[in-house]
Symmetry: C2
Subunit: 340 residues, 2 copies
C-alpha cells in the first residue's frame, strides 16, 4: 500500500544554532526554556533525534524505505522560527529553511514534499513568504506551531497570513508546541506542558479560537490541518455545538453563520500523527468521514514503522485505508499519484 | 429500562445568596466573576434554571417521571462552596447543603441519592465532612468542582481529603468549573472558559495531574468519577502512555508504578453527562469497557429527556445498555436495585 506521511519533521542547522543561542541568553520564552531543557539537552537520545532531524539526504530516504513510507511531507520542527524574537532573523531563518526544503524536494521529487515555515511575528512578510513558497518553491502548504509569543491566529494582525494561505490554496498545518504564556503555569507540574497533554490542549484551544471567532466566515476556503487525531476535537464536536449555542444565547459568544462542527467538517483535515489507537481512528472516521483523515508518522519523534504497521493492519475497509494512507494527501496537497 | 442519572445538580438558596454577595463585592475570583456574569445574570432563562436547581420536592420528581429518570444522584452545583473565601462560611454552607440533601434523600429514598459537598479550602474539615456524610447522612460519594482557588487535589495539603474518600469508600466526582487562574486568561476570548471548551480542559488537566503525580500509587482504592464522557481522556490514553513514557525518560516526569492508562482503568469511572454522541460513547466503551461508563443527564443544564432517549436508543447490546443505564451506578454507589 502506498503510504504518504504528512507530519514529518526536519531542522536546519541554522535554526538549531539560533535556538541554542536563545536558550543561552536571558530572553527565551519560559515555555521554550522548559521544552529546550529536555529536548535540546545534550544526551545520546537527543543526539540521535537531532542527527535525524537535520538529515534530508540518502539516510532519511533509506529510513523511509525501511519504515514503508513512500512520500514524506516535511516541515520545520516545532517551535520553528516562532521563538526567535529578532523578527528580521526569524524571517531570514524561515526563508532559508524553505529554500533548503525546496532543494531537498527537487533532489527527491517522488519522495518528498514540503510545508513552508513562516514567521508570524511579521504577518505581511509571512503572507509574501507563503506566496513565494507556493509560486517559486513548489511547496504545498505551510505549518505554524500554534501560538507565536502568546498570540493566536484569530487575532486581527494575522489576517494577511490567513488571506494568503487561502488565496494560494496552501493548507495550514496547525502544529503543537508548549502552552502559551497565558496557561503555561498550569501545565508546569509533572512536565504536563509536553506531548502527553499540554501540546494537545494548546493546539485544540487554538483551533477552537479560530472556529468560534468566525475565521471561517471570513475565509471559507481556508484549510487547517490538525495532527494527533485532530487534537481531540473529533471526540467533542456534538458537545461543542450544544454548549456553544448556549453560550451564544447567554450573549457571551458571537453568533456564527454555522455550527462549530460544520466549520470543522468543511475547513479542517486531521492526521494520525502520534496516535495508533484503533478506537480513536474509528471515532474520527465515523465523525468526519474517511476523506478528512490523513496518515502521518511524526518521524523522528515517533516510531514510523509502528505507525505504518498500524495503518496497514488496523481494521478498515480497503477503500477507507487507501484514503487515509495516501489518497487524501494526494488530493489536498496536489501530489502526483506516482507509485514509487 | 431503569435509568439512574448521576450528575444531577441542585442549589441551596443559602449558597445562591452567598454567590450573589461575593459577586457584588471586590474579591470574587476572576473566573467565577466571568461565569457569574452569564449564569447568574437575572434573565428568564437563568430564572428557570435557578427555580429548577433549588427544587428538591415534588416538581423535580414529576420532571424525572416525565424525563424517564428513576433515580437522580444529586450534587451541589458548580462551583459550589469552593468560591467562598471565608473558610468557616464555606464549611458551614457545605454542611448545611449536605443536611438538606440528606433530608431530600430521606423524603424520596427510592428516587434520590446524594453526593456530598466539601470545602477543600480546609482539608481536615473536608475529610471529617466526608466521614459524616457517609456515616451519619447516608450520602454515597462526594463532588469537587475541579480547582479550589487555583489549587489542585494532587497538592499535598489535600491528602486528608483523598485519604478520607478512600477510607470511607466515597467515590469523588471531579466536576468542571471554569479554568484556574493560571490558565483563565487563555480561555477568555469568545467565552471559551465555559462548557463548550474550558470546562473540559480544566477538568481533564486536573485528572492528568492526579494520575502523573502518583496519587493512585498512594491511594490505590480511590475512585474518581469524570463526567462529560471522561472529559476527553478516553480518546487520548494510548498517546498519553506513549508520550508520558518519553517524558519519564527525559527526566521531566516522575516514574510511576504503572502506565497512566492503567490508573485510568482502575481508578476512574466516567459518565455520559452532557454528551449524546454515539461515536464518543462507543469509543469510551471500547477503551474502558462497559462497566466504567455511567449514565448522567446533567439536569437542569441539559435536556434530560434527550439524554434518556439517547441512552435508550443508541446502538448497544442490551447487557451493555443495562450496565450504563443503571447497573454500574448501583454497584459503585451501593444503591438498592429496587425498580420504581
Amino acid at each position: 500500500m502506498r503510504c504518504i506521511a504528512v507530519e514529518e519533521a526536519f531542522l536546519t542547522q541554522g535554526l538549531a544554532d539560533a535556538w541554542y543561542e536563545i536558550l543561552g541568553g536571558p530572553d527565551a520564552e519560559p515555555g521554550f526554556r522548559l521544552m529546550g531543557g529536555s529536548i535540546l539537552a545534550k544526551s545520546p537520545m537527543t543526539a540521535t533525534v537531532h542527527s535525524r532531524l537535520v538529515d534530508l539526504g540518502p539516510a532519511r530516504i533509506a529510513q523511509m524505505d525501511n519504515d514503508g513510507i513512500d512520500v514524506a511531507v516535511l516541515s520545520l520542527t516545532s517551535p520553528g522560527v516562532q521563538v526567535v524574537a529578532d523578527v528580521a532573523r526569524a524571517r531570514e531563518l524561515a526563508a532559508v529553511s524553505n529554500d533548503e526544503l525546496a532543494a531537498a524536494v527537487r533532489a527527491y521529487p517522488t519522495r518528498y514534499a514540503g510545508l513552508a515555515a513562516v514567521a508570524p511575528q511579521h504577518p505581511e512578510t509571512a503572507a509574501r513568504e507563503i506566496e513565494r513558497a507556493r509560486q517559486k518553491l513548489g511547496l504545498v502548504g505551510l505549518l505554524i506551531n500554534s501560538h507565536t509569543q502568546g498570540h493566536y491566529l484569530d487575532e486581527p494582525q494575522f489576517e494577511p497570513i490567513l488571506a494568503s494561505a487561502q488565496a494560494q490554496m496552501m493548507p495550514l498545518y496547525l502544529h503543537p508546541r508548549e502552552p502559551a504564556p497565558a496557561m503555561l503555569e498550569a501545565y508546569r507540574p509533572h512536565g504536563l506542558y509536553f506531548a502527553h497533554w499540554g501540546f494537545a490542549m494548546e493546539t485544540s484551544l487554538h483551533a477552537m479560537r479560530l472556529i468560534v471567532s468566525g475565521t471561517f466566515d471570513r475565509f471559507p476556503k481556508l484549510k487547517i490541518i490538525l495532527g494527533h487525531m485532530g487534537e481531540g476535537l473529533p471526540f467533542w464536536l456534538q458537545r461543542i455545538d450544544n454548549r456553544h449555542a448556549l453560550q451564544v444565547k447567554l450573549g457571551d459568544a458571537k453568533p456564527l453563520e454555522r455550527k462549530p462542527s460544520e466549520y470543522f467538517l468543511d475547513n479542517f483535515v486531521i492526521t494520525t500523527a502520534g496516535v495508533t489507537s484503533a478506537p480513536a481512528l474509528r471515532l474520527s472516521i465515523d465523525v468526519l468521514g474517511a476523506e478528512r483523515v490523513m496518515f502521518a508518522a511524526d518521524y523522528p519523534y515517533e516510531n514510523a514503522r509502528e505507525a505504518v504497521d498500524f495503518i496497514e493492519h488496523v481494521e478498515l475497509d480497503e477503500e477507507t485505508r487507501a484514503h487515509i494512507a495516501y489518497r487524501n494527501a494526494e488530493r489536498l496537497f496536489g501530489l502526483s499519484p506516482t507509485a514509487r
